[in-house]
Symmetry: none
Subunit: 193 residues, 4 copies
Amino acid sequence: MPKKHQIIEAAIRVFAREGLEKGKIADIAKEAGIGKGTVYEYFSSKADVFKAIEEHVTTGMIDVVAEVLKKPVSAEEKLRLIFSISVEHINHMGDELLIVTELLVHGARGHMFDEGTNTMVDMYSTYRELVETILIEGLQNGEFREINPPGIATLFLAFIDGIVWQYVFIKDTSNFKLLLDEALESFLKGIKL
Amino acid sequence: MPKKHQIIEAAIRVFAREGLEKGKIADIAKEAGIGKGTVYEYFSSKADVFKAIEEHVTTGMIDVVAEVLKKPVSAEEKLRLIFSISVEHINHMGDELLIVTELLVHGARGHMFDEGTNTMVDMYSTYRELVETILIEGLQNGEFREINPPGIATLFLAFIDGIVWQYVFIKDTSNFKLLLDEALESFLKGIKL
Amino acid sequence: MPKKHQIIEAAIRVFAREGLEKGKIADIAKEAGIGKGTVYEYFSSKADVFKAIEEHVTTGMIDVVAEVLKKPVSAEEKLRLIFSISVEHINHMGDELLIVTELLVHGARGHMFDEGTNTMVDMYSTYRELVETILIEGLQNGEFREINPPGIATLFLAFIDGIVWQYVFIKDTSNFKLLLDEALESFLKGIKL
Amino acid sequence: MPKKHQIIEAAIRVFAREGLEKGKIADIAKEAGIGKGTVYEYFSSKADVFKAIEEHVTTGMIDVVAEVLKKPVSAEEKLRLIFSISVEHINHMGDELLIVTELLVHGARGHMFDEGTNTMVDMYSTYRELVETILIEGLQNGEFREINPPGIATLFLAFIDGIVWQYVFIKDTSNFKLLLDEALESFLKGIKL
DNA sequence: GATGAATGAGGGTTCATTCAT
DNA sequence: TATGAATGAACCCTCATTCAT
C-alpha cells in the first residue's frame, strides 16, 4: 500500500523533528498532505504508527545484516561487512536515529505499543545474536583466538552504538571514516589468532 | 535547599520509570510525598524541572572528570582514570541513563528548555574538549604518536557511549568489566608511541 | 424500491442491537451487504434513516389499528381487537421495541429529524384518538357507562405501553398471555354499562 | 460531597434536555457553572456520570418502596402505598423520566457502564421482587385469591410503567389522578378474595 | 510556605458525509 | 447506480498550571 508507506515517511519526518510525544497526528497528516482522519484509515492509533515505524526501521536493518551471514566468506570478512553496512545504514538514517533512540529507550523501559512484543529490543537482541554466530563460527574454524563470544559481541555492538551517537551529535562525520577503519582493524587484530 | 533536591530525586525516579513526557507533575509530587502545588514553589514549570535534572546530571559528570585534568599524572593515566570514572558513573546511574538519553535526543533536535542554552549538548562538548585537551597534552609531551586529537576524542566518546547502551539493555554487566579493560588497553596501545 | 427497504431492515437490526446513536452508518451498510456510500443513495442522512424507520414502524401499527375502526362490530369488540392486535404486534417486534422507545423519547424531547413533524409522537396521538373515537362511539350507542373518553383512552394506552416494557425486560412472556386476557376483561367490565 | 451532587444535578438537566449521547460533558460543566476539567475531578468518565445518575435515581426509588414492606399493614394496603408512592415519585421526576427510559433501554440491550453490573435492570428486578413478596404475603394470609404472584407482579409493574409513559407524553396529568385510583381499585378487586 | 481543587488548552479518536471513479 | 477512500468537525479526556486558603 503506497499511501500507508507515504504516511510512515511523513511520520518519520515529523517525529524526527518534533519527538515521538510532541509530534501530533495532525502534523503527520499535514506533512503527508492528507486529512487527519485519513491517518486512521491506515493506522488504528498513534501507537500503531510507532509500531509501523519500528518495523520499517528494524526490517531494513536486520534483513541486510542477516544476508551477510550466508555469504561464503571468512568470519573476519563478515564482521567487516556488517560493520561497514551498519555504518552506511546509520549514515543514511540521519535524524531517523533520534526516533530509533527514543524507541529503544521506550523499549528498554519495558513499555510496549503492542501487547507482548518489544520489536525494537528484539531487533537489538537479534542483531547481537547474529554477531555472536559469526564469532562462534570464527572460533570454530580457527580464525579467532580463545574469545568469549557474548562479551565480544557486546563490545562490537557498543562500538557501533557509540558511533551512532557521534553521528547524532556531530552531523558531519566525513573526516571520521578513516578513524573508524583504523578502529575496526584494531578491534579485529585483538580477536584474531 | 534540601526540598528542591528532594523533588529532583523524585522527578528522576518518575521520569526514569515513565519517560520525560509521560511522567506527570502529579506523579513527582506523590513520589516526593508533597503536594502538587509545592513543586511549583521550587520550579517554575515542567521544563524547569528538566533543566534542573540536566544540571544535576551534568554537574556530577563534568566536575569529577575535570578534576582528573589537574592530577599530576601522565596523559595516558588520565585517559585511564576518565574511562574508569565514567564507567563507574554509568554503572551507578542505572535507569537514570534513560533520562540522560532522552535529554540528549531532545538537545540533538535543537529543542531547549531554556532560551539559548543546551545544557546536555554543551556538557557533551565539554566532555569531548576535556578528552581532546588530554590528547593534545600527550601529543606534546611525546606520549602519543602522531594522532588527530578531535577524531580520537570522538572515538573515545563513542567507546564510552556504546558501553552506556549495553548497560541500558543488558542490566547485569558484571562479567563485562574485564572486556572493557582489555578494550581500553587495546585502544591505548593504538595511540601510544 | 426493494433496496431501500433492505437498508431499513438492516438499520433496524443494527439500531436494535447498538442503539440509535451508537449504531453507525458503516454498520448498516455492512449488515445490508452494501457499500457505505450506497446508503446515501437512498437516504440523505442518518436522521433520514431514523425518519424512515419511524414511518416503517408507525405505518404498520396505525394502518392495522385503523382498519379495526371500520369493522361492523361493537365498540367493545373493537377494543378487544385493538388490544390483541397491539399485543401481537408488540410480540412480533422484539428488540425493535428498543428503537421505538428511543424514538419516542427523542420525540418527547421535542427533537425532530424532519423540520416540523414529530412522526412518532404524532403516531402516538393518532393511536390515542382512534381509541377515543371508539370510546365515544360506545358511549353514544349505549355500550359504555358515563366515562371520560380522553382519560380512559390514556388508561388503555398506559395498559398497552406497560406491557411493552415487560416484553422488553422479560423476553419470554409466553405464560403471561392469560393474565393479559384477564386484565383486559377486568378493564372492559369497568367501563361497560 | 456537595460538588459531586451539584454536577449530577446539572448532568440530569442536560441529559434530560439533550439525550444521553447528545449531552456533552462541556454542557454539564457549563450548566453546573464549572470548568470542563472539574467534571473529571469527580467522575472518571462520561459513563461514570451515567452510573452515578443511575444510582441517584434508583436509590431514591427502591429505598422508599422497600420501606413500605416493613409497615404493619395489610398486603393490600402495601400495594396501595407502593402505587401512590410510585406515582408520586414519577410525578416529581418530570423529564428525568426520559433519562431513566434511556438508561433502561441501554440496560435492556445488555450494555453496561460498569463491568458486571446492570444497575437499572437490577433495580427493575428488585422492584418486581418487592411486589412479588407482598403478593405472596397476601396470598398466605388469605387476603388474595389463588393468584400467580410473578404474573400479577409483572402486571402491576406494567400498570405503573404504562402510567410513566403517559406522564412523559401528556405533561399535565392533573385530571388523570382520579382514573388512576379507579384503575387501582379495579386491579385490587381482581386479586382479592 | 504548602496545598489541592479548579481550569481549559490541546490532542487523540470517531464517524457522518462527500465525491471521484 | 454503487462504492469506499478521504475528510474534518466534534467530542472525550489529560494534565500543566494557577490561586485561594
